[in-house]
Every structure is written in C-alpha cells, then in structure tokens.
Subunit: 164 residues, 2 copies
Amino acid sequence: MTDVKSVNNPLFLREEELRQAIELLFFAYRDFTAGPDEILKDYNFGRAHHRVIHFVGRNEGMTVSELLDILRITKQSLNRVLSNLIKRGFVEQRQGEEDRRQRCLYLTEEGRMLEQKVSRVQRELVANAFREAGGEAVAGYRKVLTGLIDETNRDTVLNRILKT
Amino acid sequence: MTDVKSVNNPLFLREEELRQAIELLFFAYRDFTAGPDEILKDYNFGRAHHRVIHFVGRNEGMTVSELLDILRITKQSLNRVLSNLIKRGFVEQRQGEEDRRQRCLYLTEEGRMLEQKVSRVQRELVANAFREAGGEAVAGYRKVLTGLIDETNRDTVLNRILKT
DNA sequence: GATTTTACGTCAGTCATGTTGACATATATT
DNA sequence: AATATATGTCAACATGACTGACGTAAAATC
C-alpha cells in the first residue's frame, strides 16, 4: 500500500512514460535497420558500409574528414570499410580541386544502384509509418527527435540533414 | 531544367522528406546512446550489458528465452555478457518455480543501482526533448515510432513495452 | 624558403559483440 | 521410455570499433 508504484504518483507515471519512450525507440530502431541489414548481407557488406554509402550518396563530393565527423569513428575504422567500397567499385575518390590534399567521395553507378536499393526499403518503411500516423504526428516525430540530438551541435547536424 | 530535382516535383519532395526523417532517426539514436555508453565504459561494460540490465530491470523474473527473443541475438552471444554480469554481481538467476528448467533473471542491489544511474541520463535526455516538443508532439513521436516496429509482431512488442 | 600544420593513408595489435556448429544436462512433455 | 525444451558451454570466426605509431603530400605560416 505504501508501494510507490501502487499509488497515483505523478512522478512515477512520468518515469514510466519516459521508460516506455526509451524502449519504443530501441525497438523502432532495431526494426528500422533490419531491412537494410538483410540486403547488404548479400553483398557481404555490413551496417558500416551502409552508413558510408548513405552519407556519400546524400553529400556527393564530401571529404573524408566530413564523413569522419558524421560517423564519429576513427579514420582507421573508416578506412577498412571505405577502401573496401572503393576496391569493389561502389565508391570513388577524386582529388579536391581547391585543396588537393582532400579526397572527395562519390558513388559510382553501381554504388548509386545499391544505395537506391537499400534506401528504398527504408523509405517505404518510414512512408508507411508516416501514412498511418498522419501529418501532425510526423511533425511531432520531427520535433522530439530533433530534441534528442546533442544540443551542442544540433544546428550543425540539422543543417546537414536539411541542406538539399 | 529537366532535372527532376529542380522542378516542383511532389515525388521528389516526398523522397527528400523521407530521407531527412531517416537521417534524423540516425542522428537522434546516435546521441541517445552516447550518454549510457559513457557511463558503462567506467564499469568495462558495453551496450550489450546495458540492454540486458535494462530489460531485466524492467521485467524482473523474466527468463533467458524471453530475453533472447527481445534482443534477437544468439544464446552464445547473450551468454558471454550475461555470465559476466552474474559473475560481477549485477544480475542473479533463480530457478523457475513452475518450470525448473528456466533461469529467471533479477537485478541485484548493485545492478539496480547501475540501472538507475544509466537510465537516469537517458530519461533526462528524453524528458528534455519531450518538454521542448510539447505533449502533442510526444503523441506524434509515439505514433510514428510504433509504426516503425515490424508489423508482424508489433502487438507483442507493444504489450511488452506498455505492460507495467 | 624553411617549418609547421593539415588531410589522409596505413601497419599492427586489441577489444566487444555478433555469428555458426557441436555437444551436454536437467527437466518437462508425450 | 522416448522425445522435446530450456539452458549452458566450447571452439572458431567475422565485423567493426579502438589505440598508437609512422608516412606522405599539400597547404599554411613564419
């Protein structure tokens, strides 16, 4: 009877609500990545390759540094994945025109095809979720997820996402 | 001028909107997991340990099978992490009362403390995002993320999340 | 023009966390 | 009594992170 959970305790309700929101994000993300993972297995690529293909596809000509900054991994980690993608002809590098130290990254035709293929299943998943949820819910989704992004570089990240 | 991107093409806008939603989820999840990762490093635990502590904490007395079903990993993978947590006194097992083959999982006092500590930073992050976004946005967040969960076992997952 | 910094690549070793496959043990079910 | 289930365990391997050290070309600075 003095159990904190059994009384109508607004603090507990709040904590419970937050815990549910956390689990929801866990499960949603798990299933959100399942589709691409499945496809990439056929190419002997993993999630790391997916991320590279995704971001290079969205930012053609981006430099290695920019990619490292987005992925938040070490250059040694990136290099194994990236040089694999280059060797197998999904990504190509061109020397920077202004700064010739830079290696600018582009998808090859084959890379673009794979990117499309993988992206499609993910877009369809999200499109379905958006359709079921409705426009207002989509706006809420954006607001909350934006708030989850680290405040100290939220603007940088948002610019990167929204820049078309 | 015939560039599909340059005309007011609703299909392109839709695709762009979806791509932005996908990146938003990527970045939000990245920062959502950063806090716990940081804390767990001090204990020489990783994200895998976190997941076990989280779900055992939320479902005291759950069996190993149930945990495996949630995490979607092999028992061999789980075992390394789980036996580590048991050995170090964060989780304990008790034989199932009805079915004595089952090992029911519980957090120890120490485990509960760690769970609280880690959970707190994540709850605070989500609480801030919720507060900034407002109640209506939170409802939208829930709707959309629910829609992202694999439809074939969405009900099972939702029951697990909502069951208090 | 010499020096320093920057962007990138690479070698080598380690760790965390996932996988497959095979086998063991206790208990429940048929 | 035979079979199925829940769990544990050993061994080998893959992926994708990490640290640390070193190299090279080009830009920036003194």
